[in-house]
Point group: C2
Chain length 194, copies 2
């Protein structure tokens, strides 16, 4: 791993565990077995590190949107749920920073983090919107339905652990079904339970 | 406000804004216009304050469960959604601590916080279970469906602000509808959109 990547990796873990404000550059250097000063050869400030971790997480989430299959809104939403949960499972520290610690940034870096988060939200909203336009999803308020779906997915970072009893596959399957039902998709065929 | 209540109120706000680890007792004393030492006349440790804030939040959430109306599972779930979102809207700092900062406690206080959170989760799960048993909710996995619902509700602490464009009433109504649909409640009558 490149030194810079290693710094970002360790910083993401510390920020997610103890919080951004509670993680000092000195502590970060100690975890990296670096002299405090030599950290600054790689990175300008703690805030720059935070933004970089947010960027890395955003890249993973945005890649989910880019990788959605052509197909029906149901298939696309199912792939989105699966992809989103996979990023959380595989990138727990970074996802935690993306969900929680970003708000400790100050302007203008804060604006960039907000813009990245908004871009992802809008992408998800686009998938919901498309489903509504095709008459497959039935929701009254696309914006609120999007936030509802994202909320349900995001919170898994609090409790889901890939090494626990529930496989990512099972979680994704169950959550996709709940999401689709919330979006008003009639059950039947592969979605049927009755 | 009693001095102790004031301490808990200010501490809850600081913990929720900057994080538990990043809030020192000295800073807390400064925000209260207290000498650092005199804080300890009211409170033993920072950790005790954290647990107390968690307890206060838990009390509000558990009161929602106790106040649920007798009635159909749909009515009970609707009241639960409304009550849960109201606690978040009215008690944002405390709710944030209940959702996020509690994990910085160490044993044995950590166990008490976990038990309080579990008690609430189990109460919500009871409402879901009851609906399933009465044949009103249709879910495959009651535990996962409960986590899904709680996730969708909890995350509102991240973005909902009561002084924003969306009233608590509107949010509750829309979220209750989404939750009930996710739980497989057939639409029609007051829930109908078609």
């Amino acid at each position: 791993m490149e030194r810079r990547d290693e710094i970002l990796h360790v910083a993401g873990t510390l920020f997610s565990q103890r919080g951004y404000h509670a993680t000092s550059m000195r502590e970060l250097a100690r975890h990296l077995n670096l002299q405090g000063g030599s950290l600054y050869a790689h990175i300008q400030s703690k805030e720059e590190i935070l933004l970089e971790v947010v960027r890395q997480a955003a890249e993973r989430f945005l890649a989910v949107l880019q990788g959605l299959p052509e197909g029906s809104p149901v298939e696309r939403m199912r792939a989105l749920v699966r992809g989103h949960l996979r990023v959380i499972a595989e990138e727990l520290p970074r996802a935690t920073v993306f969900f929680h610690e970003w708000k400790h940034l100050s302007p203008p870096l804060l604006q960039e983090a907000k813009a990245l988060r908004r871009r992802y939200e809008e992408g998800v909203q686009g998938v919901v919107q498309e489903g509504v336009e095709k008459g497959v999803f039935r929701v009254e308020n696309v914006r609120l339905a999007t936030l509802f779906v994202l909320s349900a997915l995001n919170w898994t970072y609090q409790w889901y652990r890939p090494d626990g009893p529930l496989s990512l596959e099972e979680l994704s399957e169950a959550y996709a079904r709940l999401v689709l039902r919330a979006l008003g998709v009639e059950e039947g065929g592969e979605d049927g339970e009755a």
